[in-house]
C-alpha cells in the first residue's frame, strides 16, 4: 500500500509529518509516543522489517552524542537522577533533539525504502523542482555506482602498489586520486553528452505521462500526518 503511493505524495506526507513533530514541544511527551506508533505502523503497512528500520536510523548517532552531553553541561535548575546530577533544561533539550531527530530519520527511511530512487526523482519533478536540477540528480543516480566503482578500482590499484594511508604525509596521494576521479568523471560526462547529442538529444528527456492522482491516494498519504497533527493539537489544548 505504501509502496504504490505516488512518490510526490509520500514526500509531502513525510515533510508534513516531520513539520508537525518538530513543532510539538517535547514536554507533551505522550504525543511523541503516538508519533512513534504512527511511524511504526507506517513501516508495518509498508512491510519494512523493524530491524532494517533501526539499522538505517544509525546514521543519526553523531547528533545523539551531542544531545547526550546536554544534560551535563549547562545552567539552571539541577536535579538528581540516581547517581547523576543533571540540568533539567539540558535534559529536556537533549531528549527533544533525540526524539525529533529519530522520528525524522525513521520517516525518511520509510520513504526511501518504499520508493525507488527513480520514483523519488519523478516525485521531485512533480513538486516543481527545476528540470535542470532533476536532470542533474538523475545523471547523478545513474552514474553514482560507476564512479564509486572507479574510486574503488583506484583504491585497489593504490593498495596493490603497497600504499597504506596512515597520516598527513599521504594526503598528496589521496588528493591526486581525487583529481584523477574528477577528470575521469568529467570526461565521462563529456562522452555521455556527445553520445546523447549524436542520438538526437535536444534537452528534453523522454517522459511517460504522469498519472493523475486520485482522492484516495491523497487520503491514504495524508492519514498519518493528519493523525499526528490532531495528536499534537489536542495535547497542546489539554495542556
Amino acid at each position: 500500500m505504501v509502496h504504490s503511493l505516488p512518490s510526490h505524495l509520500k514526500i509531502i506526507a513525510v515533510l508534513f509529518f516531520v513539520l508537525v513533530v518538530v513543532s510539538t514541544p517535547i514536554t507533551y511527551w505522550p504525543a511523541f509516543v503516538i508519533f512513534l506508533t504512527l511511524v511504526v505502523s507506517a513501516a508495518i503497512a509498508g512491510k519494512i522489517a523493524i530491524p532494517t528500520l533501526a539499522k538505517r536510523a544509525l546514521i543519526e548517532i553523531p547528533f545523539i552524542f551531542f544531545a547526550v552531553l546536554m544534560p551535563f553541561f549547562g545552567t539552571g535548575e539541577r536535579f538528581e537522577l540516581g547517581p547523576l546530577n543533571l540540568y533539567r533544561d539540558g535534559l529536556l533539550a537533549g531528549l527533544s533533539i533525540v526524539a525529533k531527530g529519530t522520528l525524522g530519520v525513521l520517516s525518511a527511511v520509510i520513504l526511501s525504502t518504499t520508493t525507488t530512487a527513480r520514483e523519488i526523482l519523478r516525485g521531485l519533478e512533480r513538486l516543481r523542482l527545476p528540470t535542470i536540477m532533476v536532470q542533474i540528480a538523475s545523471f547523478m543516480l545513474r552514474y553514482v555506482n560507476v564512479i564509486s566503482d572507479e574510486m574503488e578500482r583506484m583504491k585497489i590499484a593504490r593498495q596493490s602498489r603497497g600504499f597504506d594511508a596512515t597520516g598527513v604525509k599521504h594526503w598528496k596521494v589521496i588528493a591526486t586520486s581525487a583529481a584523477a576521479l574528477f577528470i575521469r568523471s568529467y570526461e565521462r560526462g563529456e562522452r555521455v553528452h556527445l553520445a546523447m547529442l549524436s542520438r538526437g538529444f535536444d534537452g528534453e528527456l523522454p517522459h511517460t505521462e504522469a498519472k493523475s492522482v486520485g482522492t484516495r491516494a491523497w487520503l491514504i498519504a495524508l492519514t498519518i500526518p493528519t493523525l499526528a497533527l490532531i495528536t499534537s493539537i489536542s495535547f497542546q489544548m489539554i495542556g
Binding site: L19, V22, T75, G104, P130, M133, F139, G167, S185, G189
Partner: protein, 225 residues
Amino acid sequence: MHIPDGFIDIPTSVAFAGIATAGMALSLKGAKSALDEKTAPLAGLTATFIFAVQMLNFPVAAGTSGHLLGGALAAILVGPWVASLALTVVLVMQALLFADGGLTALGLSVFNMSLIGVWVGYGIFILVKKILPKNKSSISIAAFLGGLISVPFAAAGFVLQYAIGGTGTFSISQVLTAMIGTHILIGIGEGVISALAVGAVMASRSDLVYGYKGASQVLETRVKE
C-alpha cells in the same frame, strides 16, 4: 552527517529554506550561460564526483580520518554556479535516499554548504588569485586558502542558525568555540587536499579548471547541415 530534524526550530528552518531557494534560483540563472538542459550530463557527473569524493577518507592521526566537503574544490573546478547546484542536488539526494540530514533542515544545510561553502571558497580563491602573480602555483595557493576558509565559514553559518533558532541548551559561545575550533582543523585538511587536487588537475587538464581559465570549457559539437 548533516543537521537532523528538530535541531533548529521551524521558523528559522523555513526562513533559511527561503534563502536557499532564492540562492538556487540565482545559481540557475548564473549557470545558464555555462549550462543548459543539453549540458546536464556534465553537471550531473560533477554532482556524482562531489558525492563520491565525500566518501574519500583521508587519515589524520591516530586512526581518525576526515573527508572532503568539496564546496570550494567544486567551485574552482566547475565554477560557483554549477558547483552550488550540484552540491544542492547532492544534499537533497542524501536527505531523501539515505536519510542523512532532516528534510525540514534541508534549507539550513543548503545555505551552509551550497551557498556559504561554495561562495566563500570561490570568493577567497578569486581574491588570492588576483593578489598573487599569474602562474600555476598561485592557483594552488588560492585553492588552499579557499578550501581552508570556506569550512569554518560554513560552520559559522550553522552557529548563526543555532543562535537564531537552536533548540539546544549549549550557549552560543560554547557552540561557536566548538564548531569553529574543530572546523578550522577540518578546513586545514580541506585546504591542503583541495590545493593538491586542483594542482593535479592543472598538471594534466588545466582546460577543465574553471577558476584558471575564468570560463568553463564549452564542448564543441559540429552538426552536418
